[in-house]
Amino acid sequence: MNTRTLDMPRSRCAPLFRLIRAHRVLASLLFLVVLPWLTPNYSVATHILIFGLYALGFNLIFGYMGMLSFGHAAFLGIGAYAAGILIAQHHVIWWLAIPAAALLSAAAALVIGMLAIRTRGIYFAMVTLALSQCVYFLIYQLPASGGENGLRGVNVSEIHVLGLTFDILHPIVKYYFFFCFVAVALWLISRILASPFGHAIQAIRENETRTRACGFNVENTKLITFVLSGAFCGLAGALYAINLSSVAIETLHYETSGLVVMICLLGGMGTFFGPLIGALLFLLIQDVFTHWTEHWQLYVGCIFMFFVLFFPKGVWGTILEKLHAD
């Protein structure tokens, strides 16, 4: 009888990948550090950075906990509008506004989470969608948000840190300014996932009943994860507002919620690098094709379908699978 395990060819790349996975935070940070030099322009690199964080936050709920939320644009949006209103209209300094925005987003996640957690599966997706549309409506009506015109005036042009002045209008300086926040967030997410709490999250995805039987408070875990996810997405939102100096009402639209789902699925949900890779691929492809042709939606759609048909676990997930990594 042929047992094939011993004969299985091991890719020469496997040790490298194991190294990368062992030091995932470092690897991600390294990738993000060099990103501006790899992309055709700086704005798409910043976009990838910010949406990568958005996707990482979302992945906590989607990939690791296994709950599909169609309303995460609410957290991105609340973070963006909170930071925007604080900076543009109340002249709050950035190092107060950004954390405040993340906290506000987390608070919103607490409220939405408490309402939504009792549903499951596609219904959870729809409840989160419905609630995020309510958030869209509320913020649209708020005079401070500018409604359809958007919130303008989120002007952070200079920051003063440790006696040094940095010109945020310079694209590279701006990128690394955001990078600092994303780096901290990445590290935090990694720590959370590696902790016992992180393992509980994944246990719930694998088998909720059994996890409950083991004595974990499943509802609380779900809620806490939802809140954390909201906080990270809110942080991404705050950076998004500062990046474009304005916040568009489209940030809260369900299309933005759909976008992050696509990014995570494309990259590989439930993996650490998946969201970043998904953001890189989707946004880069969209950017390149937009420059090239006005029919970019046709090509992006086809490429997207191609990935879905042939890379079922997302790009990173499929790579991992092919290398027989564990």
Binding site: H47, N149, R152, L244, E294
Partner: protein, 402 residues
């Protein structure tokens, strides 16, 4: 002798470098970024804006450019999304190093682009309607507004249409543009002694107006004004007509789009009155309009420029006129020149008002008609032409300027 040699050598080197720098100056084109919504519901209008802008650039280059320096147009797709528009503006400034930016079709995209350009001291000429861009909070030294704003449109149309004692109703799209139009018309109505009998607001993007029309019908207005734009405008006017409301009510809409009229057909827009910035038939009275029409027809197979398209032509042409007059592409000097410029690019005299850089220009009142089969482009009848006046603008104080 040796010192003289050294001096001569230095002078030669300096002049060689200077000459090469000047040569490099000569070679760098004058870059104008044009972010417009090529994809999305206003793709047709955007494409016409691109064609018109390219025409203006070509005219400038054929006339010699700026001491041999040619202008170059960098067209980008902003997908009618303000976030995307801001990103395109960032790319144009940071990567493509444009000198100036012209563009924007929705109010939101104009405002987000403007926020980027004013921070980085880049001239931005907006070519689409918005009341907010004139206000003190958004406006800057580097911001110019070539297109109308809703206030101008409503004052011009209102003064033409409203008579004392008339009953006026609004069907308003529930967003900034709709509200701005409604506000403008309300002010004119008060002035003229007409009465606003009711307003029905509808969400942006509504495709079924049957839920709003019965209420409007019940108000029995003399004039029903459709304060919406694009597809909303087409569909609401169509459905209102089908409800039989045209029999007793005059339909009016602040912006009667050439492309919308052609898309929806004569029956839908029959008897509808509106305002516009440009309609090709004014070539009979305006030599610059004739010049534009002739060039455009020659370049694009006998077609006529549309209203929004011609705005792009005017913006780019007047901008390049200012550059030529200033003799340099230096932003500060061009701003001063442009702000003081009196120009006639395509329909008559225009200039920018000092406090808010709003282009003071004529407003055409037009009515839709069935096109003559011999001339299928003749879809409007010019009913009135309001000459350029600052009367129809909001006062500087109202806009927040000291």
């Amino acid at each position: 002798m040796k010192n003289l040699n050294k001096l001569a050598y230095a002078l030669c080197l300096a002049s060689a470098l200077g000459a090469s720098a000047a040569h490099a100056q000569n070679a760098t084109p004058i870059r104008i970024g044009l972010p417009v919504p090529l994809t999305g519901p206003y793709g047709a209008e955007a494409k016409d804006q691109v064609r018109n802008a390219e025409l203006a650039v070509k005219e400038f280059n054929d006339a010699g450019g700026l001491d041999g320096r040619k202008a170059e147009l960098l067209v980008r797709d902003d997908k009618l999304n303000p976030g995307e528009a801001a990103q395109r503006a960032l790319d144009l400034i940071e990567k493509d190093k444009v000198n100036y930016i012209v563009g924007g079709l929705s109010a939101a995209t104009q405002l987000s682009t403007n926020n980027i350009t004013k921070q980085r001291k880049v001239i931005y000429i907006s070519i689409s309607q918005s009341d907010a861009i004139n206000e003190a909070a958004d406006m800057s030294r580097y911001t110019f507004h070539e297109a109308f704003n809703p206030h101008m449109t409503t004052q011009a149309l209102g003064r033409h249409l409203f008579k004392k004692g008339m009953r006026i109703a609004f069907l308003t799209a529930d967003y900034a543009y709709g509200h701005e139009m409604a506000r403008g018309f309300t002010a004119v109505a008060e002035e003229m002694g007409a009465k606003i009998v009711g307003e029905v607001k509808h969400p942006l993007g509504t495709s079924d107006y049957s839920i709003f029309l019965p209420r409007l019908q019940a108000l029995k207005p003399d004039i029903l004004i459709f304060n919406n734009f694009g597809r909303d405008n087409q569909i609401s006017i169509k459905q209102a007509g089908e409800f039989g409301m045209k029999k007793n009510t005059q339909f009016a809409t602040p912006v009667l789009l050439y492309t919308a009229r052609q898309a929806a057909g004569p029956k839908v827009y029959e008897n509808v009155i509106g305002a516009t910035s440009y309609y090709w038939a004014i070539e009979d009275k305006s030599p610059s309009a004739k010049a534009l029409n002739d060039h455009y027809k020659a370049a694009y197979n006998g077609a006529y420029p549309s209203d929004y398209g011609a705005l792009a032509y005017s913006a780019v042409k007047s901008l390049l006129e200012a550059v030529k007059k200033a003799g340099t592409t230096d932003t500060e000097k061009v701003v001063d020149t442009l702000a003081a410029l009196k120009y006639d690019t395509y329909k008559g005299p225009q200039y920018y008002r000092a406090c808010d850089h709003q282009s003071v220009q004529s407003v055409l009142i037009i009515e839709s008609k069935e096109a003559d089969p011999k001339n299928p482009d003749d879809v409007f009848k010019i009913v009135d032409e309001v000459p350029p006046t600052e009367d129809i603008l909001r006062s500087c104080a109202e806009l927040g300027f000291k």
